[in-house]
Symmetry: C2
Subunit: 270 residues, 2 copies
């Protein structure tokens, strides 16, 4: 889960998502609209009988909120909430498992803020079942072949690894940047990602207001997307003063055509 | 506002209620399902430009939450949040203005908890406009007559106060009791109120569970209503384990027929 605003539970329920599937929560910064769903979520997970650890990553201030909540409301919950402070000035590897790596992205907002970059690890190639059978290759050899081994038949013929497998889909990547003032240097970090979420609080006619409040305009979000040559841009975090979200979309598309609006309930396949 | 759970803002929006009309919030106790709407509500009121003071009443623990929020998130808001600790062991007058009095109701739950009793003050009688005209009574005398004065005509005839006015509707009363174990002595405090809200977390077949968790059953809520001779009972705060709320309603009605369920969005006229 990325950020956790108030009402997240009812929203997940509406979308048929189970909160028990959440292992890690990555929080960008300690503003209410990004964290006020945590108090209730932690309690409901306990009511639902959670025993698995919950891992929460975010700037140090988020840790203070968690400390307060755990001390005041959740001294007796039946699972562990673990907090991992993120250094918001660094682009660092902050999490890794066998399928994914997560990096922090230094952002600049009114208080310490971090974006997150998710990179899927390259997956092993798929085996061609019919050739396994044809060459009589035993099942015990599958992992070796996936890992790069060739196969030598009884008559000494070498069947190269490439012929026995076909490559897995290329690893996917997603970058989440909210909230932040326009940072041209972001393009280096989010270079070529499949999907970039970038906040676009204002239209560019309010660029000064964006600068003052440490937010971005739709045009600026699209500029990052274009300069980073990402595949798709999703913009969100619109100011309540925005009358027409379509105007934001048009502004962004004038710079980076493959842009969509982060509407409530949107599901994006990468 | 009575208690303030997560998602209160979107619920109010759905019902077309303005959060700017809220002057006082009365919190029963510091459990998440009763207070986790406060963090976001306080911030949104500021975003909407509130300058009027916001008065929050509740057990001392709620004050600690407010302190944390004001220090951590709202050091710069443009209005004052004032907290009034409620002594949860006493039935006390805790607020009064020209139209209403509010009393605390000592409840018993897993942590200090208070209910609230709202009593409208008796209103002045209404003036009979047509008699004012008929007797030539000047407008300047209206308040005197409402307050009990008679009127003497030029020929010395005394027109009694009672003839010049008709009585205002009787003052209304509402008692809010959540969360609490069954307390027979509540009947003294909520005696004869127009509307009693009483929690009914369980069916009476789970009376032991109710006792252990310091909650009430529908039958117990209805017993309080019957013994206090209230006019109407509204039950709510149903356990997530309840399959049919109708069973709760039938159980309560077997003791106190004029019972309704506190469904989401319910509006009750008193």
């Amino acid at each position: 889960m990325l950020d956790c605003g108030e009402g997240v539970q009812s929203q997940m329920q509406k979308m048929g998502l189970s909160m028990m599937n959440i292992g890690h929560i990555f929080i960008s910064h300690n503003h209410g609209d990004h964290v006020f769903g945590l108090p209730g979520l932690i309690g409901t997970m306990d009511l639902l009988g959670r025993t698995a650890e919950l891992h929460i990553h975010g700037p140090q201030q988020v840790g203070e909120l968690l400390q307060f909540l755990l001390r005041t409301y959740y001294a007796d919950i039946q699972y562990k909430v673990l907090f991992y402070p993120v250094d918001t000035r660094k682009h660092d590897l902050i999490y890794e498992d066998r399928s994914i790596t997560v990096y922090s992205i230094p952002l600049e907002h009114r208080l310490p803020t971090s974006g997150y970059l998710f990179r899927e690890k390259p997956r092993l190639p798929h085996i061609k079942r019919e050739l396994m059978d044809a060459y009589g290759i035993p099942v015990s050899q599958i992992n070796n072949i996936k890992a790069g081994a060739s196969w030598t038949t009884e008559d000494g013929t070498v069947i190269p690894h490439e012929r026995l497998t076909f490559p897995a889909a290329p690893p996917r990547s997603f970058a989440y940047c909210s909230d932040t003032v326009y940072l041209p240097e972001l393009k280096e970090i989010v270079k070529g990602v499949d999907l970039l979420y970038h906040e676009a609080t204002y239209l560019h006619e309010r660029a000064l207001r964006a600068e003052q409040t440490r937010h971005s305009t739709a045009l600026q979000a699209a500029t990052v997307a274009r300069d980073a040559e990402v595949k798709q841009l999703c913009i969100g975090h619109f100011s309540a003063s925005i009358k027409s979200e379509d105007a934001l979309l048009q502004e962004a598309r004038s710079i980076f055509p493959n842009t969509i609006l982060a509407n409530e309930g949107l599901v994006i396949s990468i």
